[in-house]
Amino acid sequence: MIDLLSILSIAMILTSLIVFGLRNYKAAILTYGLQTALLVSIFLLLSTTHLAEQLCTWALIAFFTKVLFIPIILLRLVKKLGVVSEDEPVGGFFVSPIIAISFSLAIAMSVYPIYMKFSLIHESIPLIASITIFMIGIFGFILRNSVIKQILAYCMFENGIHLSLALMAYNSPEIAELGILTDAIFAVIIMSVLAQRFHHYFGSLDVSKATELKG
């Protein structure tokens, strides 16, 4: 029987696919918020089932920074720029999510046995989910041209890494988790500022239109 941890992990994969695939920015950002809420739930669940008390602190920090702060920044960005939905991505709206999920799952399935050997929490589905979410984030950069979707892709692979960290190294010193999160928040803020500049100069959020630097 599938346990709660696996259900939450599968829900995280599904939300990744939705964030990746949705054209509407606001809906994609809210779904990202939901995905991070699932991540926080996993932290809390693991903290009780595996007596990993540190994960309670992680959950609290992640809730304020990733469930609230980052989505608020992104929603404000979308409102400020007055954009609603993204332009056609590489391979089209239908094909690009299929490519992303199939390749991500394939990579996750081939790599996760190695992770299993050393993971503190020996659960295959959550480990597969962590690698899949990370890879969907990477594919988000490759296949989606929208600056905002690329910021969301960054946030997603960040979630993937955090899930891996919770499963494989939840006992690591808290300063490590704090350092990674601080970098992530500053990265999103800087990317948002650059996104505004991008929109100002190119009149669009489509990175394929930025072709000034070649050769």
Partner: protein, 494 residues
């Protein structure tokens, strides 16, 4: 002053300088004075620290999370010496930019504040013993330097800033995976969560860590830190970023930042090399990576007429040379790779700062529109000549020394095919560079001359860099050799 205080000062001075400049009134004279003073203090602290670890001593602080050894000392010396000279040059450069109306005094203040924040993050990355903190610091170097690169307003600057943060963040995500995996694999051996995150403990227990996972970890680390260091095929951000940023930012990125990323990689190289995997594996991977990087850079370099873009491809090529040195391995190969880090640091800092002079004189970066530099600005022309001579490996200049040792060691260890490919790559770079050099330096200028020789205050730091190139090319500097010997011993755990 005890080491604990020195650690605090090393990190606090640039961080505080950044904050003070950030909140200071927007008066160019005031912020530039603060900038110069802070740079001098940071540099003095770095040099004092390096002197303490020269003979192989190691110092720890903050529950061993920070440390300084001779290997870190090599890279701290780059931050201290190259960083100071670039920061001194940047004052005059920013003044020119303000006079041209390219930037405002507020932009210059932002640049100075960020440059100290950048120095803070780079110093942190060198001092970190905790492998997660090292990753955090290297990622923070990207974040702190984005707006130094994208200082100018406009399409090109924005595009370069975006490419920089996106490509480096993706690359470094793999390095974070390498970090998590290394910690987990280490924890399986020693059940101590604090100490298994420390590089020194991981090195001490390298032989007990599962060799299969270490191979995967090294590949992830190479993708991650290799992206940041500009190794092919994930080097694509580098030409755009180095060519579009202000000259001192490009000099800082190429001269110091790329080396800090290489230090991150060397830390993994040492762990995997000293494990049951052995040095043969890491050397083979680095040889392939180095040669691929040199050839890709050489081929693109031939087509460049933009002087900054040409130097940007040079940065890639020379990171390939450092990777080749790590690939050759052994005491001499590693010594040469570390020597090359310094040689390239001072050379490329000079090269990029000279482009600042050239753009002031011609108003363009296109070398086909230049010419007659030797008559218009003889000192700039000589400095340009010194940087080119060193970059292509002319004897008597710093880069020749490390490249010669790499070639010699390759023959000694029977790496005949790699060394032949290495030499071919260097010959391509040599030909491409000198044709570009003659284009800009001799003949008649093809564009209107906007200025003649720049002020002495701008040229003096560059003369300092040129002097270092020649000193390290001609003499054997005892202190530096001792430091490198100690650093190599750390890598091979001798």
């Amino acid at each position: 002053m005890d080491m604990q205080q020195l650690f605090i000062l090393l990190l606090a001075v640039p961080l505080l300088a950044s904050l003070i400049i950030w909140f200071a009134p927007t008066q160019f004279k005031l912020v530039s004075t603060l900038h110069v003073m802070a740079s001098m203090v940071s540099s003095a602290l770095a040099v004092i620290t390096v002197m303490k670890v020269m003979n192989g001593k190691v110092f720890f602080a903050f529950h061993d999370m920070l440390f300084i050894d001779a290997l870190g000392g090599v890279f701290l010396s780059l931050i201290g010496v190259t960083g100071l000279l670039i920061n001194l040059y940047s004052v005059k450069y920013m003044q020119w930019e303000i006079q041209k109306g390219e930037i405002t005094s507020k932009d210059a203040k932002l640049f100075f504040a960020l440059s100290h924040l950048f120095v803070f993050t780079m110093t942190f990355s060198v001092l970190a013993n905790n492998i997660v903190l090292m990753w955090v610091a290297i990622e923070a170097t990207t974040l702190s330097s984005v707006f130094m690169v994208a200082l100018h307003k406009g399409k090109k600057s924005t595009e370069s800033g975006w490419k920089y943060i996106v490509i480096c963040s993706i690359g470094l995500a793999f390095a974070l995976y390498a970090t998590v995996l290394l910690y987990s694999a280490g924890f399986a051996v020693i059940k101590d969560s604090h100490s298994m995150m420390l590089w020194t403990t991981l090195m001490a227990h390298a032989k007990e860590i599962n060799p299969d996972i270490l191979k995967l970890i090294f590949v992830f680390a190479l993708i991650g830190y290799g992206t940041k260091a500009g190794l092919a095929p994930t080097h694509t951000w580098l030409p755009d970023v180095h060519s579009e940023g202000p000259a001192p930012a490009s000099a800082m990125l190429s001269g110091i930042l790329l080396k800090c990323a290489i230090l991150g990689l060397i830390r993994y190289y040492a762990i995997v090399g000293n494990s049951m995997v052995g040095f043969e594996y890491v050397q083979t991977v680095m040889l392939i990576s180095g040669l691929m990087t040199i050839f890709i850079a050489a081929l693109f370099l031939m087509r460049q007429h933009d002087v900054k873009r040409m130097f940007a491809y040079h940065s890639i090529a020379h990171m390939g040379v450092i990777a080749f040195g790590l690939g050759v391995g052994g005491f001499v190969g590693l010594f040469a790779a570390l020597f090359h880090a310094l040689a390239h640091s001072v050379t490329k800092a000079l090269a990029f700062c000279v482009t600042g002079n050239m753009v002031k004189i011609y108003g363009t970066r296109d070398m086909t529109k230049m010419g007659g530099l030797i008559r218009i600005a003889p000192i700039t022309a000589i400095l340009f000549c010194i940087s080119i001579c060193s970059l292509v490996g002319v004897p008597g200049f710093a880069i020749f020394v490390s490249e010669f040792w790499m070639i010699q060691e390759s023959f000694n260890t029977a790496l005949y095919l790699p060394v032949v490919l290495f030499i071919i790559g260097l010959i391509i770079i040599f030909i491409a560079d000198f044709s570009h050099f003659f284009l800009a330096t001799f003949g008649e200028s093809k564009s209107k001359i906007l200025s003649h020789e720049v002020e002495w205050s701008a040229n003096l730091p560059l003369i300092g860099l040129a002097a270092l190139i020649i000193i390290f090319g001609v003499f054997s500097v005892d202190g530096w050799v001792t430091l490198l010997n100690s650093a190599v011993k750390i890598i091979v755990a001798a």
